[in-house]
Symmetry: C2
Subunit: 79 residues, 2 copies
Amino acid sequence: MKARVTVMPKKSVLDPQGVAVRDAIAHHGFPQISMVRIGKVMEIEIDDAGPDAEARLHEICADLLSNPVIEDYVLQIEA
Amino acid sequence: MKARVTVMPKKSVLDPQGVAVRDAIAHHGFPQISMVRIGKVMEIEIDDAGPDAEARLHEICADLLSNPVIEDYVLQIEA
């Protein structure tokens, strides 16, 4: 089984890394960029996934892979 | 216009951050995880995108947002 976890800063949280990248792109000659937000993506491969694998992945996403105070995660099961 | 850029380490490149996360998940009681690879995702909003916006985004992805020696990027145009 493969899963993909995307962790993004919440909309209400300032993302200074995104602001820095937006400014860098503007200096690179593309000032039409109005916003950049930067998150993490994790590709996970699971051997012998049991019937509770998706529930356990949600638990790991909330406990380990994201900070629920400032980030939201999306878990996609791919195969 | 919105675009999403996903930057992942190439398959041939060691991803020590992914190995550390895999081991942390195993210690968290889920040893079936065989591989984790970690990349970045950038959500970009563009105002007044011209007809060449996608070509310019590809240029920025290769020049600024990824390191083509060790990373691959995927550019998705969302709207």
